[in-house]
């Protein structure tokens, strides 16, 4: 009965209206070029930017290792650790980019489509766990470079080796993660929870009520 009533209303829609006019070829060409995903759900640009930045840093880390090897007695642990983390960072982001595959994302069945979006958000949030130690490793290096530019002496804690330098790195890593947790991750956590609850609601809803 309910469905019959809906069908009656459905058939009352006008054959042609401003809203439902035929699609023109020129409109189609414009639409084909535009990005269909809402900015919140589209992470390709961010992932690409991170991949490029990671690749640049990776080259920088290689150069740093080469420079450190030519200098007698310099510590190679930090540059090698940085290079290893950057390699994993690059691998993680390239893998996520291939997994997301925004070109064919919309052609999946609804539930796998939502699951994929959830996974992308989950992995994206996880990426901050790699960025934080990287920030911990490279912020002192950046500080030293900036201090060098302004002809200041680098801070002994940052410039020197040993236990205190690693303590600074750990402290910076944890601080950066806490900062991300309160600034960047919160937004994606909310999006992830929304998509997840929506998918679970779809699975749990009884369609008997609908039609």
């Amino acid at each position: 009965m309910e469905l019959k009533r809906l069908e009656e209303h459905w058939n009352q829609f006008p054959e042609m209206s401003m809203e439902e006019r035929p699609v023109l070829s020129t409109d189609l060409e414009k639409m084909a070029l535009h990005n269909p995903f809402a900015p919140d759900f589209y992470l390709k640009t961010k992932l690409l930017a991170r991949t490029y930045a990671g690749a640049l840093l990776w080259l920088g880390a290689l150069y740093q290792i080469k420079a450190a090897r030519s200098t007698e007695g310099s510590d190679l642990v930090q540059p090698i650790l940085g290079l290893m983390l950057l390699t994993y960072f690059l691998y993680f982001h390239i893998r996520l980019l291939f997994y997301a595959d925004y070109r064919s994302l919309g052609s999946q069945p609804l539930i796998p489509f939502l699951e994929k979006i959830e996974t992308i958000f989950d992995r994206y949030m996880h990426s901050y766990r790699i960025i934080s130690p990287l920030a911990g490793l490279y912020l002192p290096v950046m500080y030293n470079l900036i201090a060098g530019l302004f002809r200041h002496e680098p801070h002994p804690l940052v410039a020197g080796g040993g236990f205190y330098r690693w303590l600074v790195i750990v402290f910076l890593s944890v601080s950066c993660y806490i900062l991300f947790l309160h600034t960047r991750i919160g937004k994606y956590k909310k999006l992830y929870a929304t998509v997840r609850s929506y998918r679970q609601n779809l699975i749990l809803t009884n369609p008997q009520k609908a039609v």
């Binding site: 006008p14 439902e20 269909p36 929506y198």
Partner: protein, 171 residues
């Protein structure tokens, strides 16, 4: 002859296909949009996704299936982003379209369909597009038991005798 026909379908221009199937996009927009701007944006998004999915070398059946998937996915994504903007129910005042006939039909339809969930909207869209019930799990990814109308549950007493009969007498 049949092979020629099949080849014709395979090589059909994706642009012609999209133009011929535009009614499907409008159907899902009737269920998920509340005003003209939203409607136009969802139409553009669905067609953009469909353009990416429906490449050359696909059969008519594959294209149709991909097209419906694009409609459903983008409508759901639209519903999700709108849900993030506002956490409240849509009132009649918010349904605003440019053409008066469309606005009137939309108000009537939305009043009749008030309170239905997004899954019900999707199933309604598939019903209006005459999609066979056995194709729905493939398009939505939902388990068949959720999509098929469920049999009313019988009381334990009513079920017990046929169950015993089946187990004891016929086996």
């Amino acid at each position: 002859m049949e092979a020629q026909k099949k080849k014709l379908f395979v090589d059909e221009d994706p642009r012609s296909f999209l133009k011929n199937q535009h009614r499907k996009v409008y159907s899902i927009c009737r269920l998920f949009t509340n005003h003209y701007k939203e409607h136009q944006s969802l139409v553009a998004n669905i067609l953009a996704v469909a353009c990416r999915c429906i490449g050359p070398g696909k059969t008519a059946a594959e294209r149709k299936s991909l097209y419906i998937k694009a409609c459903i996915n983008m409508a759901v994504l639209h519903a999700l982003s709108e849900g993030l903007k506002k956490d409240r129910a849509v009132t009649d005042k918010e349904i605003q379209f440019k053409s008066p006939d469309y606005q009137k039909s939309m108000l009537g339809f939305r009043t009749a369909a008030r309170g239905i969930s997004d899954l019900e909207k999707i199933l309604l869209f598939l019903h209006f597009e005459k999609v066979a019930p056995e194709d729905i799990p493939g398009l939505t990814g939902l388990a068949p038991s959720l999509v098929r109308p469920q049999q009313p549950r019988q009381a334990v007493g009513q079920r017990f005798i046929p169950y015993l009969k089946e187990k004891i007498i016929w086996s």
